[in-house]
Structures are given as structure tokens and as C-alpha cells.
Assembly symmetry: C2
Homo-oligomer: 262 residues x 2
């Protein structure tokens, strides 16, 4: 009779998540700033050969090491999401950055236990930077603990990846927040959330995100002292709406949340 | 009787421009991602201590080496713009990027002879990248000649720093261009123009720029095979309107120009 496998420890999962980021980085850089075919998916977001090749390599490594774990990736879909352990991965977050030579794209790796993200990695192959979030532990930015800011609304630096991610109501909500902050800037993808964890950005307001866009962000933001929820203040899950509010601290979250549902 | 100084050669001016970029880079990095006071100018663009200190250092070096040259800087204004030789400098282009920890800010150095930009440097202190444009020579990206793309409108990747830089008519013009390209992305400042020279971005459409924002871009874009003008197709000068259209090639310029004045 087969022995049941020992459940993986949080340390094992963390090291494995980091190894996936390390697998992805040189692959991403092999394609970065090279001529490539850019296709258009139905949603018009560009998909690159790099995206698919990286996800294939990551999935193979997961399946070899943890055959009973579920996987949810951007390019190759969902497998066994009903399992206790699930990996959620975005090989290249920020494909528009990637194909225009901007170094602000990243690889996102999340591990969920019972649907809750317990490990998150934001890896930036072009800059070599990396954020690691593990539930209950301080977030590490390039190996050093980092803290998000204590700034309040009037002094906040707000980010969204693009005004084009919002529908009409969402854009109105984003404008209400924008009117109250010190400044806003567009263009960031996952990097904005890393910069939030590191204390440089104070709020990110986005919609239309998929689980592979936001799951890895949760342990990173929370472990730095920030808050990340949907626009109703609920924890992010695999079935969230894709509306995401990340703030550098709980007080700022309380200031912004009502502006989103006005 | 004082001897008239020998006029500087193009090589001397080029080396001097690069030395100014090298002076600025470590200063910028000393302030980057550090806590700092952010002030608000009348136009609400944030100004940092780094901005001012770098420009002061650059101006001192110019005045020491070339006392008869004019200087136009973002922070400390204009001196002797009627001289044959004029330096136009932006110590930190992309201050919103800078103060939010984004590595996509740059230092811009231009040298004008008789009002025409003959040397341009885009220096990215946080990524270590540098573009050098010298009139009549191929643009160098990190020391290697680079070429802008041959892409046409339907396959173009379009950039603007932010939708917030446009007035209503300008925004409408930008939307007309956006509707015809493969994709658009916001958030770039001077880096977008460097990426255009390197073949990754195909068009940048902006307005509200100042001479210190665009003068250094001209030799960089032109030396890579691109075109950079105002929205009427006229060469950029110190008295331009601040509307800038940069394209990767002349054919793309001809496609976009009529969309801007529709």
C-alpha cells in the first residue's frame, strides 16, 4: 500500500517557489528585447512565446515535484484546483512592458493552501529584484525585510497599470481616489505592488485582474504591513471579481475603500 | 588682448555631455528610494532635493569648462540662451517615477549649436543604460549602434507618459492614434524615446513638454533612424509648443501626423 506523502512544510514550499522564479528569470531574459512574434488573444493582450515556454517549464517542475498539487497558470489554464495545495503562476506579468523592452515585467508565483495564499513571489528578471512574502513572516525585498509606508490619503502616491483597465464605473471610482491623493502614475503591473511593499508606492487600485495577477501579491503586501482586498474590503480568493485595492497600511485602506463604492 | 577660445569640437562636446551624465548618475542613486521631502511646484510636478542638487553640480561644471556657453535647466532656469553654444539639461526626467521608486527616470543632457541639438544623452541611473545621439552619427545604446523599427501604424506600440499630460484636444488626438495601433502603454518619460531608438517602441505622442524634456531626445531618435517633430511636423526648437511626436521611421511619421491635426 502506498504511503501517504508527508505534507510539505512552509519552508519547503517557499524554497520551491523561489526555485520556480529562478527557473523563469533566465528564460524571460532570453526573449526580452529580442524580435518575436506577438500574437493577439481574444482579449487583445499580447502573448509572447516566452510566456508559454516559461509556464510549460514551471508546470513540468511542479508536476514532477508535487504531482498531487493543483496548478492555475495564465497560459495553460487550470488543473486540479480542488486540491489542498495549489500553485498560481503568471510567467510574465506585464506583457506590454515586456514586448516594448520595459524592464518592469515580472514573474508571479503563489502557493495556496485551502484556497489561501501562503507564499508569494514577485520576481523581476530584468532588474534582478525579488519580493518574497510568506504568511506570518516579514516580506523580504532582495533578502531584506521591508515595510510599507505609513502615509495617509493626502500624501499618497497612487498607481494603476493603465486607465484602459477600467470600465466606466471603475474609472469613475479611480478618479475619485485620484482626486484625493498627492499624485498618481500609470504603468506598473506587479512591480507597483512590490514598490508598495518596499514603502515607495502607497496605493494601487485596479480592476479586471485574474487570480494569477493578484494571488502572489497577497503575502508580499500583507507581510510588509499593507492591506490587499477587493473593492468591498473582502480577502482576495480564486473566485474574486478581479477588483483589487492594495494600500500601504490599514488606515489608508479605510480612507480609500468608501471612495471605491461611492 | 585676449585670444578668442578655440571652438569646441563635436567630440569634445560629446565627451563632456557624457561626463555630465556620469556626474549625475551616482547623485541620483544616492537619493533614489530614500526618504525625502517632496515639494509641489506651481504646476504640481514633484521636485526633489536630488533634482536641484544634480542640476547645481552640472551647471557648475559647465560654467567652469565653458564659461561662454548658455544653460537651460529644469530647476534653475535659463542663462545666456542667445549664445552659439547652449546646454539643455533635465537632471531627473520622470520625477514621479523617481519618487515612487520606479527605475524608469533619466537624466537628459543636450547640446545645441545655433539652436540645433547636435548631442543628446539619455542616461538611466537606476538601470545603468545610456543612449548617446550625435548629429550625423548612429545612435549608441550602451556603446553599440541601435536602430529604430520599421513597423507601420497597425503594428505599432505607442507610448505616452500619462493620459494626464493631455488637454482635451490633445487627448482626442492621442485617442485617434491609439485606435489605429497594435497597443498603447502609459508610463515612460524619456525612457520611451530610448526604447524607440532601440527598436522596441514605435511611437511616442506627448504634449506639454519643455525644451529640457525633449532637446536631448532629438539626436538620439534621429541617429537611430527615427523622426521627432512637433505635431505639425516641424523640427523641435527652444520655442516649440511642447507637442512632440516621435516615430521609429519616416513612413510611420507620415501615417500618424495627419491623425494629430484632424
Amino acid at each position: 500500500m502506498a504511503q501517504p506523502e508527508n505534507p510539505p512544510t512552509l519552508n519547503e514550499l517557499t524554497h520551491f517557489a523561489l526555485s520556480l522564479a529562478e527557473l523563469a528569470a533566465p528564460m524571460a531574459m532570453r526573449w526580452f528585447r529580442q524580435e518575436m512574434d506577438v500574437e493577439s488573444k481574444a482579449d487583445l493582450s499580447p502573448v509572447t512565446a516566452a510566456d508559454r515556454a516559461i509556464e510549460t517549464a514551471i508546470r513540468e517542475r511542479i508536476t514532477r515535484s508535487w504531482p498531487d498539487h493543483g496548478i492555475f497558470g495564465e497560459e495553460h489554464g487550470q488543473e486540479n484546483l480542488n486540491r489542498k495545495h495549489v500553485w498560481v503562476i503568471d510567467p510574465i506579468d506585464g506583457t506590454r512592458s515586456f514586448i516594448t523592452g520595459m524592464p518592469t515585467f515580472g514573474t508571479l508565483i503563489a502557493h495556496l493552501i485551502g484556497g489561501h495564499p501562503v507564499v508569494g513571489v514577485i520576481s523581476m528578471p530584468a532588474t534582478g529584484e525579488r519580493w518574497l512574502g510568506v504568511r506570518g513572516r516579514p516580506t523580504l525585498f532582495d533578502g531584506t525585510p521591508c515595510r510599507s509606508s505609513g502615509r495617509r490619503l493626502a500624501e499618497a502616491r497612487l498607481y494603476a497599470t493603465s486607465p484602459d483597465i477600467f470600465d466606466e464605473a471603475g474609472r469613475a471610482a479611480f478618479e475619485r481616489v485620484s482626486a484625493r491623493v498627492l499624485m498618481r502614475r500609470f504603468g506598473g503591473d506587479c512591480y507597483s505592488y512590490g514598490l508598495l511593499a518596499a514603502g515607495h508606492v502607497d496605493a494601487v487600485v485596479e480592476m479586471g485582474l485574474q487570480p494569477y495577477d493578484y494571488m502572489a501579491l497577497v503575502p508580499v503586501v500583507e507581510g510588509a504591513g499593507g492591506v490587499i482586498t477587493d473593492w468591498q474590503g473582502r480577502p482576495l480568493s480564486l473566485s474574486s471579481s478581479g477588483h483589487v485595492l492594495a494600500t500601504a497600511n490599514p488606515a489608508l485602506h479605510e480612507e480609500i475603500l468608501p471612495l471605491l463604492s461611492d
